[in-house]
Amino acid sequence: MTATAPPSPSARTPDLRAIVTRRRTTELGLLVLVAIVVVSAYALASLGRNASLPANIGPFLGVILGLILVAHLVVRRWAGAADPLLLPLVALLNGIGFVFIARLDEQLAALQATWTGVGIAAFVVTLLVVRDIRVLQRYRYTFGLIGVVLLLLPLLPVFGRNINGARIWVAFGPVSFQPGEFAKIALAIFFAGYLVERREVLGVATFKVGPINTPDPRQFGPILAAWAVSLLVVIFERDLGSALLFFLLFVVVLWVATGRAAYLAAGGVLFGLGAVASWAFFSHVQQRVSIWINPWADPQGSGYQIIQGAYALAWGGTTGVGPGLGIVGRIPFDETDFIIAIIGEELGLLGTTAVLVTFLLIAGSGLRIARSAGATFGTLLAVGLTALIAFQAFIIMAGVTRLLPLTGVTLPFISYGGSSLVANYVLIALLLRISDQSVRRSPDPLAAL
């Protein structure tokens, strides 16, 4: 009757369909580009090393395209409106990481290929199972419990394994994994869910300390608990990187949830106290710090790894010596913690900058998803997951370049390691789910992009 009637719900469908088509086309195009880059890099690295094309280049191309296609089709079918950049960006990191692992160790590369398959499978399963992100919110305490259990699992006498000085492994028969990689996702879910519930209370400044309004001191309980758990990890698992990451995750999410900078300040103070105390009481922490200050005090011993890492980066210079042409076999853990040094050697500053930019783009996509998520839980979870990936990459690269003391964590998607790869694919799947859901649920999908 009248032309001014509000748009019926069905009118949104064409908009949504256009968005899905546009986003998935963008994603497919970028994925094809990624495949070209990765396969070329793989061929170049092999040419550099043996002056011949790899024998398995055909099957390799097939597997890469197959995995990418599966991931893409699943997203298209079950999360069609999701952000189009994330999957190509992580595929690029995963692919480049694989090229460098294959260049270092063929056997590890075969394992990493398997883990990539498992990772994509976990990605698919996550998208299929978590059809509505709010389901996770309902199980927040379960996830919290799972997170703490996973985190402390390596401390169990029978299953826990001490590998390379850190007790972060768990072995069940032949299968061993790092539960901490999964714990961080569970904890991110828990924090987001918990803070959705409590943010009002935590955000009100009802308590006065002199001229400053702060929240009721009793509300600092949770942050103290997170701090205590992190310290436990430092003390008993000797895993400084993960401890830092958990604490950072909690403080950031708490701050975003409440909007109160007091929590950042409190977090900073607690971090400082924890850091000084750890340094004072634990020799492994002291050693990390003295290596950081002057690795050349013991160039053949404790400083060896970081010095060799710096030499590899310097050897690469601006443009790198070329894929497959570096001098490898000198850096301990060059396939995991120090893989960025190998990338810097063979691809130069251009390569390391490309990696930095890729992580920045992932962080940007993640934060954009957080901003446009309709529900608070989605926002906080997206913030947590994004912070995890951005800060984990920062912590390890800062350690390798001696910007910060070195703490061994993996470089997400690039380093060799099954637990890390699978967990990070789950993380990306959750981000895509939040993204897809916020677009679909928005009254104006175009505005929600």
Partner: protein, 500 residues
């Protein structure tokens, strides 16, 4: 929450910017200093896994080449001439570093100079290596003569072309085996290093240019030049008194002539007979410190010769003789250290010279007062034999005017025709020389024996300048130096010029 998310984005951006700055620091700004750290063996490992050019003598003998091995290090350096050319080629060791031409021409041998890289660009997809061969000016035959003539005595021989500075022989005895030091078996190399370091004569120190000695009477060529430059000495005047010794002012310690024989006369005579008394008197009474210092430095003392080999030693001449204490009329002022000045005039006291420096003194006299930059490289060739680079001779020092050099040349010819170096005469060649016996002590008498010389076809510019040092001789009489070092110098000249 949007505000916090924006802040978080900014914080992440700041973190990554800091990382970017740090990557720039490590990979660009500090890259060179990191690459050059001594405990960083990356460039070395690369050098051992790529073909490396050969080192070839001027007479076409391969002094060093790389042999491919099926081992962790793909190339093993081989020195077919072993000890003979070790002092020139140096060694190229994975565990012990490198020395000699292997070090100073590493970029050329490894193919890393622009000229060699440009050549390879033209054949971008060819397999050709861009390593370069270094062709030396050193001749294997002259080097072998030097070795054979010196025998197992400690000492050194330097022979060079005064017209270009090209070194023809550079022998230091005892030598070492570069094959053993360069062994890719690092344990064997370390054992040999330990052994060679324990040898008291220090074979790894090239005494031809990396160590300095009292030059003794060969330094009188410099003192004589200073006299001529100052204008107070000419071939005709003064006529120094024939005495057995000279006592400088401010001391009672006399400077005696060898064996206490009376000695004196005009410049040519006192050089030919090597009169200590006369040259001491010349420095203390006619010259004073300033002409002595400036002439010694004009010949290259107190400076490192810019030779294309690592770590050349400085030759030394004192630069401080204290304050003026007396100004006698018609004579040079007397300084606090005038007694010391008198001793330096005959190459004793605090004068030190490398054999290379003394060869350059002879070369300067032979080449009209001009000392050319000494060098062992004559050209760089690509592996297919094209000359990529040639050594471009250049003057290092203008020691004296051509006229004064000509006078000194005549004086040195006189030393051979009618003086202490008669044993240097070679039929068919004009030979000029100066002997030296640098006293090391009197009980028992010991000395370093020296001979510096130049030679060439009669009436033509000299084609070779030589310095020979024989260390730690027993005895210190006037002909100790000439009798020991002379035959070595003569043999080297004969081989080099193909005469006699």
């Amino acid at each position: 929450m949007k505000k916090q998310i924006a802040f978080l984005g900014a914080a992440i951006l700041i973190c990554y910017t800091a990382l970017f700055v740090k990557f720039n620091q490590v990979q660009v700004f500090e890259a060179d200093s990191l690459n050059n750290r001594t405990d960083n063996t990356r460039s070395l490992q690369r050098d051992f896994n790529e073909p490396r050019g050969s080192i070839i003598t001027a007479d076409g003998v391969v002094a060093a080449y790389s042999e491919e091995r099926r081992a962790a290090l793909r190339y093993q350096r081989i020195y077919p001439e072993a000890q003979l050319l070790a002092g020139v080629t140096g060694y190229f060791s994975f565990s012990l570093g490198s020395n000699g031409v292997e070090r100073s021409y590493n970029d050329e041998l490894a193919g890393r100079t622009t000229a060699l890289k440009l050549r390879q660009l033209t054949g971008l997809f060819s397999d050709a290596s861009n390593a370069g061969d270094v062709v030396l000016s050193v001749r294997r035959d002259v080097q072998a003569t030097a070795r054979d003539a010196l025998g197992d005595r400690e000492g050194a021989v330097v022979a060079l072309d005064p017209r270009t500075g090209a070194i023809i022989a550079l022998w230091s005895s005892p030598s070492f085996d570069p094959n053993a030091l360069s062994s890719n078996d690092t344990e064997a190399a370390a054992n040999y290093k330990k052994f060679i370091d324990a040898v008291p004569q220090k074979p790894l120190l090239n005494r031809a240019y990396q160590d300095n000695f009292f030059p003794g009477s060969t330094f009188k060529v410099v003192t004589g030049s200073a006299g001529l430059i100052s204008g107070t000495v000419t071939p005709a005047v003064p006529d120094y008194p024939v005495v057995t010794s000279y006592t400088p002012p401010l001391t009672r310690q006399a400077i005696s002539n060898f064996d206490g024989t009376p000695c004196g006369g005009t410049l040519f005579v006192i050089l030919a007979r090597s009169c200590n008394s006369s040259f001491a008197q010349m420095a203390s009474e006619q010259l004073g410190p300033d002409p002595m210092i400036s002439t010694a430095e004009a010949y290259g003392f107190n400076d490192r010769p810019p030779i294309d080999l690592p770590d050349p030693a400085r030759s030394l001449y004192p630069t401080d003789f204290g304050k003026v204490v007396e100004r006698p009329p018609g004579r040079a002022p007397v300084y606090e250290d005038t007694p010391r000045l008198a001793q330096t005039a005959i190459g004793q006291n605090d004068v030190r010279a490398t054999p290379l420096q003394m060869a350059l003194v002879a070369a300067g006299v032979a080449n009209r007062g001009s000392i050319m930059v000494p060098h062992v490289m004559s050209e760089i060739r690509s592996r297919d034999g094209d000359v990529v680079d040639e050594y471009d001779p250049d003057e290092w020092r203008r020691a004296t005017s051509p006229e004064i050099a000509e006078t000194m040349r005549q004086a040195m010819l006189g030393v051979v025709s009618d003086g202490s170096a008669r044993n240097m005469a070679i039929p068919g060649l004009d030979v000029g020389a100066k002997t030296g016996t640098a006293q090391l002590g009197t009980t028992p008498p010991r000395s370093h024996g020296w001979m510096i010389a130049f030679a060439g076809p009669p009436g033509r510019p000299p084609e070779i300048a030589v310095a020979v040092l024989v260390e730690n001789l027993t005895g210190a009489s006037s002909d100790t130096g000439g009798a020991n070092a002379g035959p070595v110098a003569k043999a080297v000249i004969q081989t080099a010029l193909g005469a006699g």
